[in-house]
């Protein structure tokens, strides 16, 4: 309590910033670049090596660009999807060129010039109002979009620029604020103005809702899954000298698979976990089993509420793929980093109650409420006024790529604000490597 919480170190502000609100920044899956969705109807692509603007993608959208997502596993080209308040999504392509070709390009014929820019490729129409978020599935097979029209659409790219709508999911009672894919399975999650989080899967050629969780009680702004194989790098990696109940906890977590983090207007970040399947006595989510196979239903329940560190809406949360650290940011301008650790025994039993709260909202799942979770989340770093007095709309982890990189695979935090700025932050080595 007495020792001050470590802070984040401001490494750079991507330059030049936008003159109006920026909404979200997506790191490229393999290159040291990011794309930023801007309210001036453009997308700005910045270098994480030089922290400068490389491209400005304009002329595609008639309203704010709210969201953008890089298609994973593309070869020879970069593919960016953009979602806008104009209710359409755009697909943009650019041939990948190495830096040498970039420097050689001087006079260049027209064709080469074109290759240097992001080309508008196609438009995905269908939503009736603003698109709030879009994201590619980890395999790149699907693109999910969501909108104020309360629907979630899943698109499949059959061949270049030929997109087919494979599902229109209309389960929510309010704006759908965000969509997120499970890192290993074709499992989609959406969060909403109706305060719920819903899970979808394909069942006999139809995408259906397989789980729904409540608990936030206010708009759920963002969701992100834990990385694949997190047990190899987070608090679980050190297995020597553990008590038996701790080993059991790790094994149970492995069975659950990657967890989900959500954040909300209610100023909390929550962790949700799938109840491992136990043979036949699996609960379904209320639909009669004549209509669909109950076996596809899943049980997700609230595992933890993170320590309260924000006093206004939390707009974004991101789960590191290399350290398991979580970071959150929102309206209060704070950026907070959390770490999961084994619960300290000496904390006289009643410690923080991270696992105690809100389990009743877990969609009928009877979570083990009596015993506190063997782990706890603690704040390991935070900074106030990360964008001066402005709100922060998005936060994400990204691989560090500038000359100052301290080790291979070092991660940094990227924040996107109402001031039009994208800021880059580093953490103490002790926190990242702990």
């Amino acid at each position: 309590m007495s020792t001050p919480t470590p802070t984040l170190t401001h490494l750079a502000t991507l330059s030049p910033p936008s003159s109006s609100r920026t909404w979200q920044t997506a790191p490229h899956p393999s290159q040291p670049i990011v794309a930023t969705a801007c309210s001036d109807r453009s997308v700005r692509v910045y270098s994480l090596t030089s922290f400068t603007l490389l491209h400005s993608i304009t002329g595609g959208h008639k309203r704010s660009v709210r969201s953008c997502s890089w298609k994973p596993h593309t070869s020879g080209q970069s593919v960016l999807a953009t979602g806008s308040f104009d209710s359409s999504a755009g697909i943009w392509r650019k041939e990948d060129s190495d830096t040498l070709a970039h420097e050689v390009r001087e006079v260049g014929d027209e064709e080469d010039e074109d290759k240097e820019e992001y080309q508008f490729s196609c438009i995905l129409d269908g939503h009736e109002s603003e698109i709030k978020c879009l994201t590619w599935s980890p395999s790149g097979q699907y693109l999910a979009t969501c909108s104020r029209d309360k629907s979630v659409w899943i698109w499949e790219e059959l061949e270049d620029d030929n997109f087919e709508t494979v599902a229109v999911l209309q389960e929510h009672d309010g704006d759908v604020k965000s969509v997120a894919w499970h890192p290993e399975e074709d499992l989609l999650v959406s969060t909403s103005y109706d305060d719920t989080v819903r899970f979808y899967r394909e069942d006999q050629d139809d995408w259906v809702q397989v789980a729904m969780v409540e608990g936030h009680g206010m708009t759920v702004w963002w969701a992100e899954f834990e990385g694949s194989g997190a047990g190899k790098y987070d608090f679980r990696r050190q297995r020597d000298g553990l008590e038996e109940r701790q080993t059991q906890h790790i094994d149970a977590l492995e069975q659950s698979g990657p967890r989900l983090a959500t954040c909300s207007d209610d100023c909390t970040v929550r962790i949700w976990r799938r109840k491992p399947r136990e043979g036949a006595q699996h609960q379904n989510s209320g639909m009669p089993s004549i209509i669909r196979s109950a076996a596809i239903d899943e049980d997700w329940y609230q595992e933890a509420v993170l320590p309260k560190a924000h006093d206004r809406a939390i707009y974004s949360v991101s789960w590191s793929r290399t350290t398991g650290l979580l970071v959150s940011a929102g309206s209060d301008g704070k950026v907070v980093v959390y770490k999961e650790q084994w619960r300290r025994q000496d904390s006289n039993g009643a410690s923080n109650g991270t696992a105690m709260e809100g389990v009743e909202g877990a969609d009928g799942a009877a979570a083990d409420t009596n015993e506190p979770s063997p782990t706890e989340w603690v704040v390991v770093a935070e900074i106030f006024s990360a964008h001066d007095v402005f709100e922060i709309n998005h936060v994400t982890w990204a691989k560090r790529a500038d000359k100052g990189k301290r080790w291979d695979g070092e991660e940094m935090i990227v924040t996107t604000g109402d001031d039009g700025e994208v800021r880059v932050w580093t953490l103490d080595e002790a926190i990242l490597k702990a």
Partner: protein, 197 residues
Amino acid sequence: MDLDKDNANPTILNPSDLPSRRHESNAGKRDDGGSGLFDDLIPPYNYLSDPFDDPLSASDSDDDVVETIDEQEIYDLISTIADPEHPLSLGSLAVVNLPDIHILPPVSPQSSISTVVVEITPTITHCSLATVIGLGVRVRLEQALPPRFRIDVRIKKGTHSTDEAVNKQLGDKERVAAALENGTLMGVLRKMLSTCE
């Protein structure tokens, strides 16, 4: 007759009864150099006194920064907004009222963000324009106040049949942002705010 209006016969307050600094009607408000007149001098849609624009006030303590804008000034900014269906101001219709305006200081000494809470009272409990009025108040304050203020506009409890739904909309920054990109709605808002000089 005004049959198409939600409330054809609203109660109208006498302009001289509206709260202003000159009447000393609100106890405890100090006279800080005639800032009631100051309002007439500043252009609309400019930051009133952004501490980051002024090196002198930026060096002051947090407390002084917070005091540079008080409830009366907030009231003056929004009471002149025109009602969308009557040729009257929100102040004279008692839709906005000085006692329903609160400025909350930063929650932490490390934060410089203050919160302005405005509770509006629709003229009748089913007023369909409550959302537009609330949006007008929020937009007016977002444009006039420095960005260190967070603005929470709410319907006063018990004065509207769907107050919670309206509050949720008014508090949703993404919806507000999208609304401001809607030409028709912006036209209505511009008209409401055109009386704020």
